[in-house]
């Protein structure tokens, strides 16, 4: 008996300490980027806001034989002489791709800020202020429309910055330090692409400026990432200091163009006023329909009701009304509405394990990077395998994220034009399997985002088009399974999203990159 006891004790202690709890994070497994093509003609690709690749000037670089350049080479050598294993990790982390890593950083900021404000003691809700971002409620509340817009501005500006960068690279044609000095250690794959100005630094300049606007309370975090990124470039031997300085300055200038657009795109007024909220409800009643009501307690004003008026990237506002806005939903007094409500009730009352998994996989609710962030992750995981150049990464991310932002705008337009109640409002027996969003039902945001994203991604990676469609369909139906959307919301959302994706494809066909 004693032996048995001892073996039990031994077995238990082994079990206690045998298995490590470390988890494998997929984004840390990405290989270092070694582009299949350098896209040397990218300086001729069509920018989005820039009038041309040379709209902002870049001074000619110093020669690689000048004494100042030798000093800059020596800076690399001095960094490399004392390189630590942690620094090597940093080089490889950023070496996986600069567009990729800044996209991840943006996703992280969105997740951090995707929390609805807690109510005031009088039952009203405070609105986060960009002028006082660290006071509660912190600015921003990075809900899906806010996030979609943030991803789009950053991605579009990054693309313009890299088109300009590629223009100057080919114009000045200054070799990378490892090609100038063959004795230099290079910690990343070499290429023949000119290194002045640095594409990494252009991304640092343009992204940090935009992130300061979008996440003004997180500047220290953003600046730390920027410094780490720059250090990684010097350490790797891929850039000298002047490559970085020129690239960063160019990126910062281009950011200003986007900041000006962002300040005037009407997103700042999207919260609306109590009078505007009442107007939406009254208009709906006047049309003879049951209006949406907040089911939160205390009743919360709808999320960004005027976001549907924000300036789109891929088409103009008239096009949105005439060609993209979906038809009216089934009338709240129609038989179809009753039938669709009963269908939601069925899914509420009969959850299966399989459907629950689908609901939770696509939920992307509070404290996540939102559905646009999820599609950015899907894209990033696939783009890594394609070995795109940085400029093609930026171009594809811009196409994806302009689609997602315009999808948010078109979806919010429909939600607040029709002001359709949620299933749980139509039938209080409907309990939900995921959080019930606090805005009207028609059309489903997840469906619109997913329809748009699947379309443009299927164009970028043709071999995956069917997979993206299947993912979009699953994301869409997950909202019916979760008992927060009617079937019409999901179907019309997908249709609307795909239309928007087609506008992105039209742009992709004519931007010079294909």
């Amino acid at each position: 008996m004693k032996k048995l006891h001892i073996s039990i004790i031994f077995a238990v202690s082994v079990l206690f300490y045998s298995c490590s709890k470390d988890i494998t994070e997929t984004n840390l497994e990405y290989p270092v980027l070694d582009p299949a093509s350098q896209d040397l003609n990218a300086g001729t690709w069509r920018p989005i806001l820039l009038t041309g690749p040379a709209e902002f000037s870049v001074p000619a670089p110093i020669s690689t034989t000048s004494p100042d350049y030798i000093i800059q080479l020596n800076e690399i050598k001095s960094y490399q002489a004392n390189i630590t294993s942690k620094e090597r990790k940093i080089v490889n982390y950023w070496g996986a791709g600069a567009v990729l890593r800044w996209n991840e950083i943006l996703r992280e900021l969105v997740a951090l800020h995707n929390l609805p404000p807690y109510q005031n003691p009088d039952g009203t809700y405070p609105v986060p202020s960009p002028n006082n971002p660290l006071a509660y409620p912190q600015f921003p509340f990075a809900n899906p429309p806010y996030a979609a817009r943030a991803y789009a501005y950053v991605a579009a500006a990054q693309y313009d910055a890299l088109v300009a960068t590629w223009h100057y690279k080919t114009l000045f044609n200054r070799s990378a330090p490892y090609n100038v000095d063959q004795s230099l250690n290079t910690l990343l794959p070499k290429s023949n692409i000119p290194s002045y100005p640095s594409e990494d630094a252009a991304l640092i300049g343009v992204t940090t400026e935009l992130l300061k606007l979008l996440f003004p309370g997180d500047q220290e975090f953003i600046q730390q990432k920027a410094e780490e990124h720059k250090k990684a470039r010097i350490l790797s031997g891929a850039n000298v200091r002047s490559d970085l300085e020129a690239g960063e300055a160019l990126g910062r200038s281009i950011a200003q163009k986007y900041i000006t657009r962002a300040r005037g795109d009407r997103a700042g007024a999207a919260v609306g006023t109590p009078a505007q909220w009442a107007q939406l409800e009254n208009d709906c009643i006047a049309r003879g329909e049951a209006p949406w009501m907040s089911l939160e307690s205390p009743k919360r004003p709808p999320m960004l009701p005027l976001f549907g008026r924000v300036r789109t990237f891929l088409f103009d506002s008239l096009t949105m009304v005439t060609s993209i806005r979906p038809p009216a939903p089934p009338s709240t007094s129609s038989q179809q509405f009753k039938d669709e409500t009963n269908e939601v009730l069925y899914y509420s009352q009969n959850p299966t394990t399989e459907r629950m998994k689908i609901v939770h996989f696509w939920a992307d609710g509070v404290s996540t990077f939102t559905p646009p962030g999820h599609w950015n992750l899907i894209a990033a995981n696939d783009f890594v395998k394609q070995r795109f150049s940085e400029v093609r990464w930026a171009r594809n991310m811009a196409l994806l994220n302009m689609s997602l932002m315009d999808a948010a705008i078109a979806c919010w337009d429909a939600k607040f034009v029709y002001y359709n109640p949620r299933p749980s409002q139509a039938d209080p027996r409907i309990k939900t399997l995921t959080g019930l969003p606090n805005f009207p039902s028609y059309i489903s945001g997840h469906s619109t985002f997913s329809g748009a994203a699947a379309r443009i991604l299927g164009h970028i990676i043709r071999s995956r088009a069917n997979d993206y469609d299947n993912m979009a369909n699953e994301a869409s139906i997950s909202r019916l399974y979760g008992a927060i959307h009617y079937r019409s919301d999901c179907e019309q959302g997908l249709i609307t999203g795909r239309k928007i994706g087609d506008y992105a494809i039209a742009r992709a066909r004519t931007d010079g990159a294909e």
Binding site: V12, P116, F361, K431
Partner: protein
């Protein structure tokens, strides 16, 4: 000190939103100073209810009008078999149903975790006018259904597989006793139905690192033929984890802790000593990232004797 009692106090303190902790710490007799005699098997059903209206978001105590009162109803089956007089095997399996009285979120239901324990009475000697017994208890629990942990506070469990080891001392003098125990719970990581999640930073994985836990339990009261009545106090704390941020939802790897006080009894039916009634009530006095739950449980247990030899009054406790 042979006891062939339904040794006591089944205390499946199920609180919503930390069920797993309870699985390891408090089912049947894994936490008291009593043993089943060799070849005796005690088994029975328990039912319980617990609820909370207030909870701790980090250290901030608050309510939530979009949840109202969150309750958990549970039915379980528990048993204890005497392998020898000094070595018992115990099990417990609860079915749980959760519900929020307000808001839109749907309650969850299902079989939760099967828990198993091996309880070894390692030492028992007369000391002074009483008797001191020392125990070592090893436990393991694992989910038996595919429930969703990532739907707090309505999840029925946290999905981790738990390995626990407990040291326990019991001192009885006359009809009065005190028991103290400390438990370390090794919790496995869990997999959630997403490919990324945010804690205090972004994680790109479906795997969530679950902090281990420590638990302490103190119980004292009257214990004699046919009746046990005791007061309990316990604390459970995760060794790591993070706080819920302002107005966020809970997450399985939160830093959770709870301190509770309670009362238990067990009463053997005079007309049929193999049959006994048990019950308990508890309330939460302090916590972090958990509901402030109060609740009660009740059960009926029956002792089956599989020993070959005939014995009379076999179910009476002997001290």
């Amino acid at each position: 000190m042979k006891q062939k009692l339904i040794s006591n106090i089944i205390k499946p303190v199920i609180f919503i939103w930390l069920l797993v902790i309870t699985g390891a710490v408090s089912a049947q007799t894994d936490i008291d100073g009593l043993m089943m005699e060799k070849n005796a098997f005690c088994v029975g059903p328990m039912a319980g209810y617990s609820s909370w209206k207030n909870y701790w978001e980090g250290t901030l105590k608050r309510d939530n009008a979009n949840l109202g009162t969150v309750s958990a109803t549970q039915f379980s089956i528990m048993g204890n078999y005497g392998l020898t007089n000094k070595l018992n095997i115990l099990f417990g399996l609860p079915y749980i149903k959760t519900k929020a009285s307000a808001g839109q979120l749907k309650g969850q239901k299902g079989l939760q975790d099967l828990a198993l324990w091996v309880k070894w009475k390692a030492y028992s000697e007369k000391i002074g006018s009483g008797r001191l017994s020392l125990f070592l208890i090893g436990g393991y629990s694992l989910p038996v259904s595919d429930y969703t942990a990532d739907f707090l506070p309505l999840s029925i469990g946290l999905e981790s597989k738990n390995l626990s080891v407990r040291g326990m001392a019991d001192y009885q003098r006359g009809s009065w006793f005190a028991t103290v125990s400390g438990t370390y719970v090794r919790r496995s990581n869990i997999k959630i139905d997403r490919d990324a999640y945010y804690t205090t930073e972004m994680h790109y994985s479906n795997e969530v690192e679950m902090p281990d836990m420590a638990a302490f339990n103190f119980r004292s009261g009257y214990r004699d033929k046919g009746l046990i009545a005791e007061a309990t106090a316990d604390n459970m704390t995760t060794l790591g984890g993070f706080d819920i941020t302002r107005n966020n939802m809970p997450f399985p790897s939160n830093k959770m802790s709870v301190t509770r006080i309670g009362f238990n009894f067990k009463y053997d039916m005079p007309f049929h000593p193999n049959l006994s009634l048990t019950g308990n009530a508890f309330t939460t006095v302090a916590g972090r990232n958990m509901g402030q739950s109060s609740g009660f449980n009740a059960g009926i247990f029956y002792v089956l004797d599989f020993s070959k030899k005939e014995r009379k009054n076999s179910s009476n406790p002997k001290n």
